[in-house]
């Protein structure tokens, strides 16, 4: 028991440090990526290639004066950054980041008693049996921070930003949650460990559940309030949205929360659809220090790739109009996710019980075939502009009833 506690504390420290340092470096990476995409260098003055820029920013924000708007609700105004920051950090606790590490120790530490651990240690702070349900539950708490920050600022821009954020996050949560049901159908389990094991046995879920992946990724963008769905911030319309009135470190906390959410969404994408720490092949299933390190590194690579994609999208796509955002969420992604659940139910039933394919790889391949057909259909329709209309799609003169 004490061994478990000790290891948990160590893992907590490790994950917390990595997330905080990582988030700081992500702010730099974001600026670098944006710069590269605009033929610029990006920050390169502080430290080697600008690596100390986040530290300089942090120092600046700690030393700055914290202002309160005169008519702000001070308690909530003070609490809101923490309320968006804590759920964002909590989520990093349930993501497995490497193959289980075989450990065997048994020692006594004076007054503290004996610390012992035998067997494989899962490389995750909390190996929760409820898995991604926990992530869905906690990530929806983040909306409180944003909405309350907007409301307690007593500023119209902040309020509008907070309203938009809450509407947007609640809308896309529906699609996000439903896009994960096919994952549950396929793996038969919600825990991340079981999902990764199932993907090791068969194919990564991105192939058999491509549309789930697509819906999850798009809703993930919306959930983290990133471009092209950054309407809560929308600097050209709302100054800075819900954090307009915030200054100094409280302002930074919103940024830390945003980037921590990005990390979580990318880690979710990696874990649920790209095999988590799984390296293709069966080498990594043996268990060992080397395997743990290699899988950890591979997980990190996949994670960084998705984080890069998030930034790449941000610096490519313009912002949606609000009605387009809502149309995409409610009229496209939610029905699509619902229809996909039904199709996948039928497909999995047919494949497993009628065709009798129980080998995970064959089953995944068959589902992949189904996905290719659905994917072509969906993307064809999306591409034709049937679902989302541009601003210039006015009715032709002949269509107008005179």
């Amino acid at each position: 028991m004490k061994g478990f506690l000790l290891l948990s504390i160590l893992k907590m420290l490790f994950v917390f440090t990595v997330i905080m340092v990582g988030v700081a470096l992500l702010t730099l990476l974001e600026r670098k990526v944006s710069a590269w995409m605009q033929n610029r260098h990006g920050p390169n003055r502080v430290g080697w290639a600008g690596l100390l820029q986040p530290a300089a920013d942090g120092l600046k924000n700690i030393l700055k004066e914290e202002t309160y708007p005169a008519l702000a609700t001070r308690t909530l105004f003070f609490l809101a950054p923490a309320m968006s920051f804590i759920p964002a950090l909590l989520l990093s606790a349930v993501i497995p980041f490497a193959a289980p590490l075989p450990l065997d120790f048994d020692f006594a530490l004076g007054q503290l008693g004996r610390f012992a651990w035998h067997g494989a240690m899962p490389m995750v702070v909390a190996d929760l049996p409820i898995g991604f349900l926990f992530v869905l539950a906690i990530s929806s708490l983040g909306v409180y921070g944003v909405a309350l920050a907007g409301w307690s600022s007593n500023s119209k821009y902040a309020l509008l930003g907070g309203l938009r954020a809450s509407a947007q996050m609640i809308s896309y949560e529906v699609a996000m949650g439903m896009s994960l049901i096919p994952v549950l159908l396929l793996s038969g389990n919600v825990s991340f460990g079981a999902i990764i094991r199932d993907q090791q046995a068969g194919l990564w879920y991105v192939l058999p559940l491509f549309l789930s992946f697509f819906i999850f990724l798009v809703s993930g963008f919306a959930e983290t309030n990133r471009l092209p769905f950054d309407l809560p911030e929308a600097e050209s319309e709302l100054i800075a949205g819900y954090h307009t009135e915030y200054s100094a470190m409280k302002f930074s906390f919103f940024f830390i929360a945003e980037y921590a959410n990005v990390v979580t969404v990318c880690a979710m994408v990696t874990t649920l659809f790209f095999g988590g720490w799984d390296i293709p092949g069966h080498w990594d299933e043996q268990g060992g220090v080397l395997q743990t390190l290699a899988t950890g590194g591979f997980f990190f690579l996949k994670l960084m790739f998705w984080i890069f994609v998030v930034m790449w999208v941000r610096w490519t796509l313009p912002r949606f109009r609000y009605d387009q955002l809502m149309a995409l969420g409610w009229k496209v992604l939610t029905p699509l996710a619902l229809a996909y659940i039904i199709v996948m139910c039928v497909a999995i039933y047919l494949i497993e019980h009628v065709a009798g394919l129980t080998d995970p790889t064959l089953r995944s391949l068959a589902l992949f075939g189904v996905n290719v057909v659905i994917g072509l259909l969906v993307f064809g329709l999306l591409d034709s502009g049937v679902f989302i209309r541009g601003a210039d799609r006015r009715p032709a003169a002949s269509e107008v009833v005179g």
Binding site: Q38, N39, R40, H41, T316, L317, L382, D383, G385
Partner: protein
């Protein structure tokens, strides 16, 4: 037709959201590997495709003759033409009757860098400079006296030549 208004034909049917998105992504990705256009300023002040214009009008410079004396003859034309009244000139005269400036001060904060002083100067003494790094620690340092104007070493700006309007 009054004026040439270009009427854009709006697409009847908006096609391609997915393809347009992918196209945009490909474009931004391509840009990541293109050469950077940034001029790394303090280290690098000009590049192959950019350098400061020869007609740049920056802080002044007073030219001197071979003996190191000011070329200025204190004729008073520059304070006369100066639209912002930033030149202070007190003329003096030596035993041989040569006029010279006793006090010649330019308040660079008042100066609007129009370049009239250089244009009007009959002796080609006062010049605008091709120079832009003017930081000082006190406001007083921005009133350049004669000594300071002499000490400047940056190149002087070239006047606009009507016969060669593009400076080629």
């Amino acid at each position: 037709m009054a004026i040439g208004v270009k009427v854009l034909k709006r697409p009847e049917r908006q096609v391609s959201y997915v393809r347009a998105t992918l196209k945009g992504m490909a474009l931004t990705f391509k840009h990541m590997f293109e050469p950077k256009v940034t001029l790394q300023y303090p280290e690098q002040k000009s590049s192959a495709d950019w350098s400061i214009s020869q007609r740049w009008r920056g802080t002044h410079r007073m030219l001197t003759d071979e003996q190191g004396r000011s070329k200025c003859v204190a004729c008073g034309l520059c304070p006369q033409i100066c639209p912002s009244n930033c030149i202070k000139l007190v003329p003096g005269e030596d035993e041989e009757g040569n006029r010279y400036p006793l006090i010649y001060e330019i308040d660079e904060f008042r100066c609007i860098f129009c370049g009239y002083c250089q244009e009007v100067c009959p002796e080609e003494a006062i010049h605008m400079g091709v120079h832009f790094e003017n930081s000082e620690y006190t406001r007083g340092r921005f009133v350049y006296d004669l000594e300071r104007l002499h000490a400047q070493t940056h190149p002087v700006s070239t006047l606009w030549d009507p016969s060669d309007p593009r400076g080629q």
